[in-house]
């Protein structure tokens, strides 16, 4: 093979040394993505007074970060950590429920032929095209009609149905669960529900983790739905809480560093989740699913 490829002009930058131009382009992209975050870290490490005086990209060295975290903790007697806890409940609980519902629906759609299957699937595909944003106000109106507005449920319930999640589960179930295994279960006389839990679910787990992560990030990052649904600030997730901090006025001196520190602390759990669970980000499911 090398006899052919070595001869021609073929591999400008491929053989013999690194491909420098692509490397430089990627490094520039990485810098664009990381520099603002670095600035956030540097700014959060400064005392309120230092924010305007020290050079932007130099961190503060007078213990500003701990002081800022302490004032964040004191902010309205621990409101910030309550918001963090709420975000975890919405994102964790919502993603878990969503993954379960998607797994069952995806399995049902992939492994059974039944009247109405096409209709259900078509409806779900259509729902992907309706942006969640335009549903938020109608959902609020209905929830308040039912007396559920401004409760945990008003944010959790609309987060459960994920058309994309169901779609991915269907593709994944069709690909990884052999029909023969299900048939064998049936011949052994197991019930359909039992077959799902004992045979169908296990091979789907890698795909389910991807669906869980997508939903977790989606709910954690959501702003409009909780912003519209919740009136009681003790129920706010971090996104809405931090927004109200900005909205209540950037006039007072200490507020800038408080918000900057709050923003930094709020993104750490998700970035940690990302780096730890990297190998579970099976996004090939998404790109693979359009080829079929």
């Amino acid at each position: 093979m090398s006899a052919f490829t070595d001869g021609k002009t073929a591999r400008a930058g491929v053989r013999g040394g690194s491909a420098w131009i692509p490397t430089v382009i990627l490094i520039l992209g990485a810098l664009y993505c990381l520099l603002p975050l670095y600035w956030l870290v540097a700014a959060a490490s400064k005392l309120p007074g230092e924010l305007f005086t020290l050079p932007s990209f130099l961190p503060g060295f007078s213990g500003g970060l701990w002081e800022n975290i302490a004032s964040l903790t004191n902010y309205r007697s621990g409101r910030y950590w309550l918001w963090t806890w709420n975000s975890l409940i919405y994102a964790g609980g919502g993603a878990a429920l969503s993954t379960m519902v998607s797994a069952m629906a995806g399995y049902g759609l992939a492994k059974y032929n039944f009247a109405g299957r096409g209709l259900v699937f078509g409806f779900l595909l259509g729902a992907v095209l309706i942006p969640g944003v335009v549903l938020a106000v109608p959902q609020y109106l209905l929830m308040s009609k039912l007396g559920l507005a401004s409760t945990y449920w008003s944010v959790l319930i609309p987060s459960i149905v994920s058309p994309l999640g169901i779609y991915l589960c269907r593709v994944y179930a069709a690909a990884v669960i052999p029909d023969e295994l299900l048939e064998a279960g049936r011949i052994d006389g197991a019930s359909e529900v039992r077959i799902f839990f004992s045979i169908g679910l296990a091979p789907m787990i890698p795909g389910l983790i991807t669906v869980f992560l997508l939903q977790f990030v989606g709910i954690w990052n959501n702003f409009l739905l909780p912003f519209i649904m919740l009136a009681d600030e003790r129920l706010f997730p971090l996104t809405v809480g931090l927004y109200t901090m900005v909205n209540q006025g950037t006039e007072q001196p200490g507020v800038y560093t408080l918000i900057i520190t709050g923003a930094l602390v709020s993104i750490l759990p998700l970035i940690a989740l990302f780096l730890l669970l990297q190998r579970y980000w099976r996004l090939d499911l998404i790109s693979g699913s359009v080829k079929g």
Binding site: L26, P131, V134, L141, L142, E192, T239, I286, K291
Partner: protein, 303 residues
């Protein structure tokens, strides 16, 4: 795909699995939609002169007419579209560029760059807007500081015109990584012997990218384009978060902010419902049309 034969299962069984999802989507997607349509056809009217009672009556399409003749709604659509015209091609372009660069043999720091570019996906739009908002804000802006140190004029990120770029930059920063990873995983799925065959035929890396990778990536590009378009319609967090920081962003900068103001600040449920149904219909129509066009094109282009 050939339909498989199954052992007879009771017809109710599949619904045990599909049922929860169907019930929940009826409750969270269809019912709110129907309920808002009903609300949008009603309104508060005062009957019997100045001291009359305020009551809710059927008003037909009056709310829709009010919404459609509201110049601010159309201005909002215009601003949303402007941001979309800037962001969608740039997100797709950069995502494609980075994905192709990651796929070049012997590229250095590929793993580091891939993770770094994906990281902003983990940052909520509100938090990203807060962060960039401060980076733009006179007094703390590092960019203005650098410009001042170099003796350059300090850029103003919050003028009537520059604010489009300021908001677009936040959207692009948050959107490139996810799309890049989708395109990159699709690239990884292309069998390597295709490239070997092309190299034997004397193709260089550029030609391989242009004539093999791009056509095979087309379905994934269509998908990411659709995601970016839906993202544009959802534009709400970024302008809402920047609004307290800048006079250049009004409280009705995009249509969704207008709906929010109508419903919650002006306490006019019926007007808010009508506007949100209008937005839903227009945007759903737009995404269906786009989906249809791109699908036809990508299928026409495939062999």
């Amino acid at each position: 795909m050939r339909r498989k034969r199954y052992h007879p299962v009771p017809p109710i069984t599949p619904w045990l699995f599909v049922g929860p999802a169907v019930a929940l989507s009826l409750f969270t997607i269809l019912a709110p939609f129907v309920y808002s349509i009903m609300l949008s056809l009603r309104g508060i009217r005062v009957s019997g002169g100045g001291l009359g009672r305020r009551e809710e009556v059927f008003v037909g399409l009056a709310n829709y007419w009010t919404a459609l003749t509201n110049a601010e709604l159309w201005a909002g659509f215009g601003r949303m579209l402007t941001v979309g015209i800037i962001t969608v091609p740039l997100i797709l372009g950069f995502a494609l560029l980075f994905a192709l660069m990651l796929d070049v043999p012997r590229v250095r720091f590929a793993r580091f760059s891939r993770i770094a570019i994906f990281v902003p996906y983990a940052v909520p739009g509100v938090i990203a807007s807060l962060m960039w908002g401060f980076i733009y804000l006179p007094g703390v802006s590092p960019i203005r500081e650098i410009a001042a140190n170099l003796g350059l004029p300090q850029p103003d990120f919050f003028t009537r015109d520059s604010v489009y770029w300021s908001i677009s930059n936040i959207v692009i920063w948050g959107g490139v990584g996810f799309n890049m990873v989708i395109l990159f995983t699709a690239l990884r799925g292309i069998p390597a012997d295709l490239y070997d065959a092309a190299r034997i035929d004397g193709c260089n890396e550029w030609q391989i990218a242009r004539h093999i990778k791009l056509p095979l990536l087309l379905p994934a590009i269509v998908l990411t384009g659709l995601f970016s378009l839906i993202g544009m319609i959802q534009l709400f967090s970024e302008p809402t978060t920047l609004e307290p920081l800048s006079n250049a962003v009004s409280t009705t900068w995009v249509p969704m902010m207008l709906v929010y103001r109508d419903t919650f600040v002006a306490q006019s449920l019926h007007a808010g419902a009508a506007t949100s149904i209008l937005i839903a219909v227009l945007t759903t129509f737009a995404s269906v049309v786009l989906f249809w066009i791109t699908r036809r094109r990508s299928q026409g282009g495939r062999t």
